[in-house]
Amino acid sequence: MKVKVRSIALIKSLLGGSDLEVDLPEGATVDDLMARLTAIGDPALASHLAPPQEESAHAPLRILINGRDITVLDGRRTVLADGDDVLVFIPIAGG
């Protein structure tokens, strides 16, 4: 299956500056996708895309699938589906 990966700012530049389409096996999870991105992007991505060490109000990474935050889905264990739109970025705040 194919998922679309969009990103903002630092993560975007470490992924090459544009949106990606990533091939994954059926049943792949968000964790699997992060591992794939770590493998294909800049080495500096590894520390940003790794799972958080501790619970915090500010996760080090924000991931949305089809506009929904994974915190209201199954977190990094959320299973992806063909055609999903995945948005990945370091948290932003302050409107």
Binding site: A57, I92, A93, G94, G95
Partner: protein, 623 residues
């Protein structure tokens, strides 16, 4: 009784009689309302007839920093200004930062109440407990920067802090703001209230130091807050560098960045041209409010093209929307220029931009003709026309005279079906979040006591994904009534009243936000609160403001959203298909009123008001 944090004094100034007096700040009022917005709502409720003309002499202009202001608590140079709003007819709290709030405390006052109307243009000079009523005839017509500079020169003191209006406030524009330095109490038309009183400015200077009630508790609470700031992965790495501007990149990615008068959310994608990262090249450093180590205010310069040389403190996210997305403009230099121009004229950037976007849609639909626009081609995206029209609004020339009334009244005046393109709630123009894709944020637009005000109950859970008090799905409706109340009460109690910069609330102290305020209050003032009691202060303020609005004639029917948001789905992007139908809005409203302990008509019950020590408000409602 408070033992620190407060000066303990309220200054009452009567412009009609040119007299003033000092009054004590009652201890029970401080305990129940804390400061800032809370105190201004309390004094407004007690002293201003809810049915008065906002631009008449019965209205009062009330200034209040909070008990944190003037101490060494970081990011506490914030202040509320309040009056009955000429834009909405409701409570009109607006907040500002900069240096004036600290200087007001140093000048000796927790609250300044301005009453009556001067017989000619006047400015107030407040120093050492003395108030002088000075002639401002020569200042009338000056921009806000010039006003501040001339007053400083005239008084031979460059360190005076000044709060003033520009030409728009003088001309009673209902979207006029009040400016101090380059910071702005922007919304609800408070500049027109100042203008209606023939008051050009308030200048003040002081050297009073705030007493700290319990140094040990204060130091411990402050240390914990500073640790929260230091540990934040956002505050210094990102926010200090970009300010609010990168929120555009986020809302655009979420498909909730409103464009072209809310017809093109998710479709028009200017983040690569006007987003926070894109405009970094215009950066000229940054500045900070007093006592703020973060410095989110970005200084930007238009470096080339027809707007070359325009310099501004901003544009903030909301202004990138107002003179960018919602008007269809993708020229960052035009946005920089209009940001500065609006500040100089004394116009709220948000209300001005949304009103211009309305005029653009009317022009594209043939409702406004070239003759009516004075020859301006008002197609979306025409930055030159936008800039000209903004100036015309500030000076109330031609079509600008109608638009200076704000979008609600402009649409009523223009008629011809234009009302459905006027994007406002209760007369306050919509902020920069397409709430069809953020339901609690939308419910806040509908119910905030100041109209469509993102700052009253900002649903940071939906926009930024911060899971406090729990993770929230921005697209679901369930629990949003409860969440909206939670946010409105939290924001009022934690940011607008003590007073503290709201950005710290979700970026630095989210894990312990109520405890943080309780601990700082105990240390700075000696007043004791549980975290739950802090939250309840926000509830009290929201209830009292609601009663004022009910007395002013507001009902459930006013807790509404523009027709477009209820009937037209977001056309494309990650929030495609989303809207808030009337049925969904009604269901959220029912849940919200239930959570608040109000009737389904949106009226607080006697039991709720008495629980909040507001029995007198129940008496006033006759319930």
């Amino acid at each position: 009784m408070y033992k620190g944090g407060y000066t303990g004094k309220v200054l009452r100034v009567d412009l009609t009689s040119k007299t003033y007096k000092e009054e004590p700040l009652p201890a029970d009022v401080a305990q129940d309302f804390i400061g800032g917005a809370g105190l201004t709502v309390k004094y407004l409720y007690d002293e201003v007839p809810a049915d008065c003309d906002p631009l008449g002499p019965e209205n009062k202009l009330i200034y209040a920093p909070g008990p944190f202001t003037g101490t060494t608590i970081p990011c506490a140079s914030r202040m509320a200004i309040n009056a009955k709003s000429p834009a909405t007819g409701a409570v009109g709290v607006a907040t500002t930062g900069g240096h004036f709030p600290v200087e007001m405390k140093r000048a000796g006052y927790d609250v300044i109440i301005i009453e009556g109307k001067a017989d000619k243009p006047t400015y107030l000079w407040i120093k050492n407990g003395e108030v002088k009523f000075r002639d401002a005839t020569d200042l009338w017509g000056l921009t806000t920067s010039d006003t501040q500079q001339v007053i400083k020169d005239e008084l031979h003191d460059q360190n005076i802090r000044i709060s003033c209006i520009g030409p728009a406030g003088e001309k009673l524009s209902r979207i006029a703001c009040i400016v101090n330095e380059r910071r702005v109490a922007g919304r609800k038309g408070l500049g027109a209230v100042m203008g209606s009183k023939n008051l050009k400015a308030i200048a003040l200077r002081g050297d009073q130091q705030m007493t700290i009630a319990d140094k040990e508790k204060y130091d411990a609470a402050r240390k914990r807050m500073l640790e929260g700031m230091r540990k934040s992965p956002i505050l210094y790495p990102e926010f200090s560098r970009y300010g609010t501007s990168t929120t555009l990149d986020l809302t655009q990615a979420l498909g909730i960045y409103p464009a072209k008068n809310w017809t093109a959310t998710g479709v028009f994608t200017p983040a690569d041209k006007i987003g926070g990262y894109a405009i970094e090249s215009r950066g000229m450093g940054k500045t900070a409010c007093a006592t703020c180590p973060v410095g989110c205010s970005q200084l930007r310069l238009a470096k080339e093209g027809p707007y070359m040389g325009f310099f501004t403190e901003g544009p903030e996210y909301e202004t990138l929307y107002a003179f960018g997305g919602v008007t269809g403009v993708d020229n960052p230099d035009a946005i920089i220029a209009c940001d500065r121009l609006a500040d100089e004229l004394g116009l709220d950037t948000m209300s001005a931009g949304v009103t211009i976007a309305f005029a653009m849609e009317c022009f594209e639909r043939g409702i406004l003709t070239l003759e009516e626009t004075g020859g301006l081609d008002l197609h979306f995206g025409n930055d030159v026309a936008m800039t000209k029209l903004l100036h015309m609004m500030g000076e109330r020339q031609g079509l600008g005279d109608i638009l200076a009334e704000g979008v609600k009244r402009a649409a009523e005046k223009i008629g011809r079906g234009s009302e459905k393109y006027a994007m406002h709630v209760k007369g306050l123009e919509l902020p920069a979040y397409d709430v069809r894709g953020a339901k609690a944020h939308g419910l806040n637009y509908a119910t905030a006591f100041t109209g469509a005000d993102h700052n009253k109950g900002y649903a940071f859970q939906e926009i930024f994904g911060i899971p406090i008090p729990k993770p929230i799905d921005r697209l679901s409706y369930e629990g949003k009534g409860w969440l909206c109340k939670w946010n409105q009460d939290a924001r009022t109690a934690l940011a607008d009243s003590p007073t503290m910069c709201v950005f710290l609330m979700d970026m630095a102290v989210a894990d312990f936000m109520f405890e943080n305020t309780a601990n700082l209050m105990a240390g700075a003032t000696g007043l004791s609160y549980t975290p739950e009691e802090v939250h309840q202060v926000g509830e009290r303020i929201n209830n009292l403001a609601r009663v004022f609005n009910i007395k002013a004639g507001f009902t459930r029917a006013d807790d509404d959203l523009p027709e477009r948001l209820k009937t037209e789905p977001i056309p494309d992007g990650p929030s495609k298909g989303e809207l808030i139908s009337q049925a969904d809005l009604d269901a959220m409203l029912d849940e919200y009123y239930d959570a608040r302990g109000w009737t389904r008509e949106g009226v607080p019950t006697r039991a709720k008001l008495e629980e909040l020590r507001l029995g007198y408000a129940a008496d006033a409602l006759g319930i």
